[in-house]
């Protein structure tokens, strides 16, 4: 039985008004504008919409999106499932380090991954002779680089907890190892693999920065096509129509992912045991193969990136890093790269503060599961189902006029607000489980000892939420620092963030510009990785020691 004393519905909604107003202004209204712009053109205009949807460019983008997402998913699963076996089912020395290194790519900003693969496959890159620059294969490899970590985490977790008894039973019934795996182990893992694949497909289908940079002018997905329609053809209508298409696409992928997750939840009610086993001499070969594949996939692009950032016209040196402090040619970038980095840090600070501040309010309101908390929860999660590019486009379409007397047009504040919209769902998902783990009777105990509702929050809830709050703050900061999809629409050309500056530099000819892009990408990667490392130390399980 839950205490009903707390929060009259009116005061609950009064507190909820703040996050709802934020999302309304910076997310729902812009999203609605995109939808309206796509459906209408001085009156409902379905013909114009159909014309855009059936154009060869659109068809091309849809086919490319599907191809890339499918290939990226298959690649991630093909490498990720055996790797999950070696890294999670088996136990061996040094495994923890390899696990940690294998998920590094996932926390890197997209623009860093794109830079790294450009460094590897570009004309002067280490593997430039393969001709993979601006090719589908190159993009797929980058997507796999990114998403193997997802498969590892999801499938690895399931495999480590899988009961080995049924497989052993199959062996005693005469199945050879291959058949035992195919008929017993694999079906048991199928829900986890399906769930991971659905998430990876979603990530691949909404991947923007990687495709934009690595695809060049020839390869376009729906996401990059939206951007090109705005940035090059100035056709906002076409961009809006394509956004509707992408929303449908993502909606279907999300529905499939939710369906797969429900199946996984149901199957995980089976016995969960410690199914890991010590690796034997016989496993050494398999582990070695996995290690080599992972090392090539993960380290080759990163090594190439660092090497290229240090490569000068005559050997190696830190020239490109020094150049980050100088003023590049006016046509290249209007400000020095260090200024873009400072701008990024400032925007990320504001974005993280806004996202975690609102996230803390939302988590406090979601502590008790009620009808209204379910509504708030789903509204706050909505940005997850909308790609960053559409968030950016919506803000560009909407906030180009004054709102309530405040002129937001071209305002610096749009960048951190867009980043806060992107970070908010993750912040909430980080805080809510911890908030819900605080037992309601513990708050009642504080009340019976004379604590007012505000004191209960300050003296019981907040001390228990402080560490997850630190984790969420770090996540939000790292996401904002590397955010590219939405930022690229709302950042003013004369005030680039670090990711948009890197994108600009990558597109300019000349070894100096590209070298600076690589050096800046290394700096951005180090900034993001160190924030993630510090915040991971905040990870804790509240309530587990009660």
């Amino acid at each position: 039985m839950r205490a009903a004393r707390l929060h009259h519905p009116l005061s609950w909604w009064a507190l909820a008004a703040l996050p709802l107003a934020f999302l309304g202004l910076f997310f729902l209204w812009p999203l609605g504008t995109v939808l309206a712009r796509g459906l209408t053109d001085a009156g409902v205009d379905l013909a114009g919409m159909i014309e855009i949807l059936t154009s060869p460019r659109t068809a091309d983008a849809v086919v490319t999106t599907l191809l890339l997402a499918t290939a990226g998913t298959v690649g991630s699963v093909v490498i990720g499932v055996p790797a999950a076996y070696a890294l999670y089912r088996l136990r061996w020395r040094g495994q923890a380090t390899v696990r940690a290194l294998a998920v590094v790519p996932f926390v890197l900003p997209t623009i860093v991954v794109a830079s790294a693969f450009t460094a590897l496959f570009g004309r002067s890159g280490g593997l430039g002779f393969l001709g993979l620059d601006q090719s589908m294969v190159g993009i797929v490899l980058a997507l796999v680089f990114y998403n193997v970590a997802v498969v590892l985490r999801v499938v690895g977790g399931a495999w480590a907890a899988l009961d080995p008894a049924p497989t052993e039973a199959a062996r005693t019934l005469g199945a050879d190892p291959r058949r035992a795996f195919l008929h017993v182990t694999l079906p048991a893992l199928a829900p986890a693999i399906g769930s991971a694949a659905a998430v990876v497909f979603l990530f691949c289908a909404t991947s923007f920065g990687v495709v934009l940079v690595l695809g060049g002018t020839r390869i376009n997905t729906i996401e990059t096509e939206i951007y090109l329609q705005v940035a090059q053809f100035l056709d906002l209508r076409a961009a809006a129509v394509l956004s509707i298409l992408q929303l449908l696409f993502v909606g279907i992928a999300l529905a499939v992912a939710a369906w797969a997750r429900r199946r996984r939840d149901r199957s995980s009610t089976m016995r969960r045991v410690d199914g890991t086993r010590l690796a034997t001499r016989g496993d050494a070969g398999a582990i070695a193969v996995i290690l080599v594949v992972l090392a090539l996939l993960v380290s080759a692009p990163l090594v190439a990136l660092v090497e290229r950032s240090l490569r000068t016209t005559d050997g190696h040196g830190v020239d490109h890093y020094v150049a980050l402090f100088g003023q590049p040619g006016r046509a290249v970038l209007p400000v020095p790269v260090w200024a873009a980095a400072v701008n990024s840090l400032a925007a990320a600070t504001v974005a993280a503060a806004v996202a975690t501040g609102l996230g803390l309010i939302v988590a406090s309101l979601l502590m008790r599961r009620t009808g209204r908390s379910a509504i708030l929860d789903s509204v706050v999660m909505l940005p997850l189902g909308v790609s960053a590019v559409i968030v950016g486009l919506g803000m560009l379409l909407t906030l180009n006029r004054s709102v309530l007397g405040v002129d937001l047009r071209g305002s610096w504040w749009l960048v951190p607000m867009a980043q806060a919209v992107i970070a908010l769902p993750l912040v909430v998902r980080t805080l809510v489980p911890s908030a819900r783990a605080i037992p309601a009777p513990m708050r009642d105990a504080a009340s019976t000892l004379g604590a007012s509702p505000w004191q209960v929050w300050r003296l019981v809830d907040w001390p228990l939420l402080r560490r997850p709050f630190g984790l969420a703050l770090g996540f939000a900061f790292a996401i904002s620092l590397g955010e590219f999809g939405a930022t690229t629409f709302v950042a003013r050309p004369d005030q680039p963030t670090l990711p948009t500056a890197i994108y600009r530099l990558l597109g300019r000819p000349g070894i100096e510009n590209v070298g600076m892009a690589f050096a800046a990408a290394v700096v951005l990667a180090l900034m993001t990785a160190s924030v993630m490392m510090v915040s991971e130390r905040m990870r804790t399980t509240v309530g587990s020691d009660l």
Binding site: R5, P441, S447, A451, S452, L459, L464
Partner: protein, 216 residues
């Protein structure tokens, strides 16, 4: 009249169909009296207790102390303490920090506070445990801390909701007598909810029974 008087207490939880947990109960407890409330699980005794303390709202009825109607007074201003079934100690505070919580809320000066904490640690037999983390304690020790914590601000009524049910049988019998002695020594008015007749008999001056939301 002095003491607690509850009239027509009714608790109904929303739902379809709504659940009537407490159905028009009347009860008076004299000052200094320890009353045992006995009944099978699900009979509404915990809901009744929570409604008196104020953590669950009354659908109908009144809660009165010394002639003052407290029905609309929020929990933290009623001056009623509560010992929860599984202690509900604050994991981020030490043993002493837990016991001092209510004193801090009452803005008791620091010196007086630590004297009171030391006194209560002695009363519950945990002398010298003040700096321990509550996570290091055994189940019996936790319930002693929970009792000390709720006694510290000298509540005018102490509600105990199955305070010993999480403990093993032997410890339970011993602690039941101890708790009674502590309550009697402090002159605390108390209402103890339990499903164990022996426990009720050993702790309370008077035992009343409850079934299906009504007193028998």
């Amino acid at each position: 009249m002095s003491g607690l008087s509850v009239a027509d207490a009714t608790v109904q939880y929303p739902g379809s169909p709504p659940v009537l947990a407490v159905d028009g109960v009347d009860l008076t407890v004299r000052e200094g009296e320890i009353v045992g409330l006995l009944g099978p699980s699900g009979c509404g005794k915990s809901s009744f207790l929570s409604a008196i303390v104020g953590t669950v709202p009354l659908t109908r009825g009144r809660v009165v102390w010394d002639g003052v109607d407290l029905t609309r007074t929020p929990v933290h201003r009623r001056g009623f303490g509560m010992v929860f079934q599984d202690g509900q100690l604050f994991p981020h505070r030490s043993v002493a920090g837990n016991i001092a919580f209510g004193l801090e809320m009452a803005k008791v000066p620091r010196a007086e506070r630590s004297a009171r904490v030391a006194e209560l640690l002695e009363v519950v037999g945990l002398d010298g445990y003040g700096d321990r983390a509550v996570t290091e304690l055994s189940g019996g020790q936790r319930q002693r801390v929970a009792l000390a914590r709720s006694l510290a601000p000298r509540p005018r009524l102490l509600a105990l909701d199955e305070p010993l049910s999480a403990l093993d049988a032997e410890l339970r019998a011993r602690l039941a007598r101890e708790v009674r002695d502590i309550l009697v020594a402090a002159g605390t008015t108390a209402l103890v909810v339990t499903h164990d007749p022996a426990e009720a008999a050993s702790m309370a001056h008077r035992v009343i029974r409850m079934r299906d939301g009504r007193l028998l």
